[in-house]
Symmetry: C2
């Protein structure tokens, strides 16, 4: 027997309609590619999104056809989030930091029919447009008078011209909530990129969960700054959760340097910001150099890669900003866990409480997780046992677009299908996850596992170190040993031996790196993570000092 409540599919159109009706005068502030500040409201965003719906109809785009973007966080991008998905098409956000060849490959694989881009990406579009064989319309996200002449893109139109001729009245269609709404490619370390294909259902459920008090805790009193890009996993779902909660939204455009971000936070009264550690490092560096403070910022969610404890301390202790360490993946829409403390943690001493904060936190309701050993048997939640992290839930991937990579899921004895994340983690008795490594980055020394992240976090805590990567290198006796590749802070004079001595008392001797190599830079990938595969490749001829055995 079914219940007798109304049958309403969960649709992205409901988010923009809700923000329009209940938070119509709440502001959306964008730093534009042009450098100036643009401000309007949720109602104006809704109105222009409806123009996008009409414009897509006029282009003859069918249900589920793909519309791609190469764009920073800004109001026009936001209008495409709603106009494309809510009208039944699929928004394909492309990461502009990918190589041009990869972008062309992705656009063809996704069968993008329209591609909208910020003018800062014009050179990229000039390089790839001839290879993007399915794209029938190129749209520059600018005013008509800013449209570059003779730039070589056939039929290029400006976004403003494109939507101007269309009505701002549009009845968002009602359809199955399982329909695809948006997609995002992950750049795997091997093979072609693969796409996660989100649905309206997964997006709306994620928007509810992400706004909960123990996740981002978003209310209509918040001004939210997603520094995390809208071209990568929907900016952690913030464009959706902000509409659901009626937040003021502050979009930073391309200016992610410390000065620009700090200025925007202060000028717009930002209360909540979300970003990856590398961007926050720039913000903290700028603030420390200039003796700056925050007036309104009270909390930040940090994810994308593990947040070094030193960064958590800086935000909390120097600036009074609560750090919510989080974990997610493109394949998980992306939020899996957020580290909101429990009452019992209040009783801990500072050191013990910080060790909880460095964990990635508890699962959102909707995400079920477990860690498994080599035989796929579940490991205990004791905060010690480390195993492969498996997750399941309505916003967790089932398979990649066009079934790339085949069947992803691992079925347990009860018939439940789990997504193996590729992360190695512990989970403590309170359900707090700690990612100890990527399974491909973990260092296997003498049958024991060494967490590369733990080694890196200690190095980062040294006052002279700006960045550090720990990788495993061949060792004839122990199979692998850790070495550290590190970048010094400007002017710092730390030596190899000083840095190795810094590990004493912090971890076991056998876990301490065998060597330190100082370098000028560490390569960073398109999503802001260190490219360890590339570091390993650069060091393929490296030998641990004193060790004569050839590899």
């Amino acid at each position: 027997m079914n219940g007798l409540m109304q049958d309403h599919p969960l649709l992205i159109s409901q988010l923009i309609q809700f923000a329009d009706r209940h938070h119509g005068t709440t502001e959306i502030v964008s730093r534009r590619v042009e450098g100036d500040i643009h401000r309007y409201t949720w109602s104006q965003c809704a109105r222009r999104s409806r123009r996008v719906g009409n414009a897509l109809d006029a282009e003859g785009l069918e249900f589920s056809d793909r519309v791609a973007t190469l764009a920073w966080n800004g109001y026009r991008h936001l209008e495409l989030y709603y106009g494309v998905s809510a009208s039944g098409r699929v928004l394909h956000t492309i990461n502009p930091r990918l190589h041009a060849d990869q972008i062309a490959w992705i656009a063809n694989h996704a069968e993008d029919q329209i591609l909208c881009f910020d003018l800062s990406f014009l050179p990229l579009v000039q390089a790839v447009h001839a290879s993007c064989t399915k794209v029938k319309k190129w749209i520059a996200l600018c005013d008509s008078d800013a449209l570059p002449a003779d730039c070589g893109i056939p039929g290029l139109v400006s976004y403003e011209e494109w939507i101007a001729g269309h009505a701002d009245v549009y009845a968002w269609p009602v359809f199955d909530e399982n329909a695809a709404s948006s997609m995002c490619y992950t750049s795997g370390t091997t093979g072609h990129p693969k796409a996660a294909l989100y649905s309206h259902r997964s997006t709306v459920l994620h928007a509810y969960a992400a706004a909960l008090p123990d996740a981002m805790g978003l209310s209509a009193r918040d001004a939210v700054l997603p520094v995390v890009p809208m071209f990568h996993v929907n900016a952690w779902g913030i464009p959706y959760s902000a509409a659901l909660a009626g937040c003021k939204l502050v979009l930073p455009g391309p200016a992610l340097d410390g000065k620009s971000v700090h200025g925007l936070i202060e000028a717009e009264g930002v209360t909540f910001a979300a970003g990856v550690p590398t961007v926050w490092q720039m913000l903290l560096g700028h603030m420390q150099s200039n003796g700056l403070r925050f007036k309104t910022l009270t909390r930040t969610v940090i994810g994308g890669s593990a947040c070094p404890p030193a960064m958590i301390r800086a935000f909390q202790e120097q600036y009074g900003v609560e750090v919510l360490h989080a974990w997610g993946m493109t394949e998980i829409s992306p939020l899996g866990t957020v580290c909101a403390l429990k009452n019992r943690h209040d009783a801990l001493d500072d050191e013990a409480r910080m060790s909880v904060r460095t964990k990635q936190g508890r699962a959102l309701f909707g995400v079920d997780m477990k860690i498994v050993g080599g035989d796929e048997s579940e490991l205990p939640w004791d905060g010690i046992a480390a195993g492969d992290l498996f997750v399941r839930g309505p916003w967790v991937i089932r398979e990649y677009f066009k079934a790339q990579g085949g069947d992803l899921l691992v079925r347990d004895a009860a018939g439940n299908a789990w997504f193996p994340t590729g992360d190695v983690a512990t989970i403590d008795a309170d359900g707090y996850l700690q990612i100890t490594d990527r399974s491909k980055d973990v260092i296997k020394s003498g049958g024991e596992w060494i967490s590369s992240i733990e080694i890196e976090n200690i190095a980062i805590a040294h006052p002279g170190i700006a960045m550090a990567a720990c990788i495993g290198v061949f060792h004839p006796k122990w199979d692998e040993r850790p070495i550290l590749v590190a970048v010094k802070k400007p002017g710092a004079a730390v030596s190899r031996d000083e840095l190795l001595k810094f590990y004493e008392g912090k971890i076991a001797n056998w876990q301490t790196p065998d060597d330190v190599l100082f370098v000028e830079t560490i390569p960073i990938g398109a999503t802001g993570k260190m490219l360890k595969a590339s570091i390993r490749e650069q060091l393929k001829d490296y030998r641990i000092p004193g060790l004569q055995t050839p590899r």
Copy 2:
């Protein structure tokens, strides 16, 4: 094209599994019918709920079969919430304040097969059990040694004996999220009671929305006291949202007097409490008489009927407790709106801000609402125009159980189907709803509408008045005129003329009641609301003073 996220139905079993895994050691504290305090954890609750699942299997109950409760807020009731619904049966919570004949009618109409009751309701069960022809098993919610001998209920067993023989391992079944999960009858003013039948989907979506920061704002740091009964609309969904958020849950049993409730709040560190105005009046009265304070309570959601401004002021100004005025209905699972303020309200003066707080607030995301005039055309959101309130959404009723009352919904030109709530309301430009009346209680004087609630709230604000009901009486010229029926506070000496003078400057002269009748008590219905139909019946021979025209 569908998205490629995993296909997981939203099920109530996931809530208890989540609380078990992530908040297993968090406490659930109950004041028992026996008077003592019982405490255990979410993990113990989960374990015993699984015993309930096995016990129901052993009874041969099929999918969707109904299990009824006549019970206060307590841990055994909570175990039935999860054990019954999560195993695929339907939990039917019966309001014990209904008349015995109505209870028997309801139990037969719902086809309840098992009825579980607190021992305090034994006399009621003795009165009705012979008439409840479908019930094949009666279970007393007590230890086996507390089971009354020779009480006349054939085959009566104690709950503890009933579950003791069953394993605490149970694989919750996976099924369609639209399956019915629980039901609650509303006592309409005319005809038989009608039941709202909730689904797993509607319940889980409501649990997400109710926990959001601008609704109840529940986190794992909260200790939550639902004074609102679990026998009425699932205690506003708190048993579900508390599991989703991992709250400590404090269940007050039958002791709803001011002293007991205050004692429990203080002893258990309650941070959030939910109740109806009549119960809160007892709490505030006790505190005022005894000079008491709250140590931990920070906020309370008040609904069920309009909260008098004087009560909001008392909580906020005397006790520093934020009042979240809310509106809902049995037919809406029940939450529709909650009055969380926006930043702009901070700039208002105290009086203006209080006038926002007296509104019932903004819709939760998921609830779409509108007000319509007599021709069902939508009225503006200007805070002035009052019309019939219509709502729609995934936790809003489509039809009553067994189609009682026929087709409930009203379709608009766009084909959207709305539930007409029977409430009359205004909505302001920020989307804040204010219930001005029940459509059947509104007083139509000379073609204008007078809100009975507004008249009552002013009376309640008078220091000498404890309770007040405003009803319309026949008038030959104006059709109807308002009169006030009022109960004085003990020892208060307020006169009719003083009370009428109290309205001067607060509302227009023509809205002021034509008369005041002081009475000893005002009749209250099973859900704590004043029974205006009964007051009207008692006053059917009343004439407005000086008016000779017979009715």
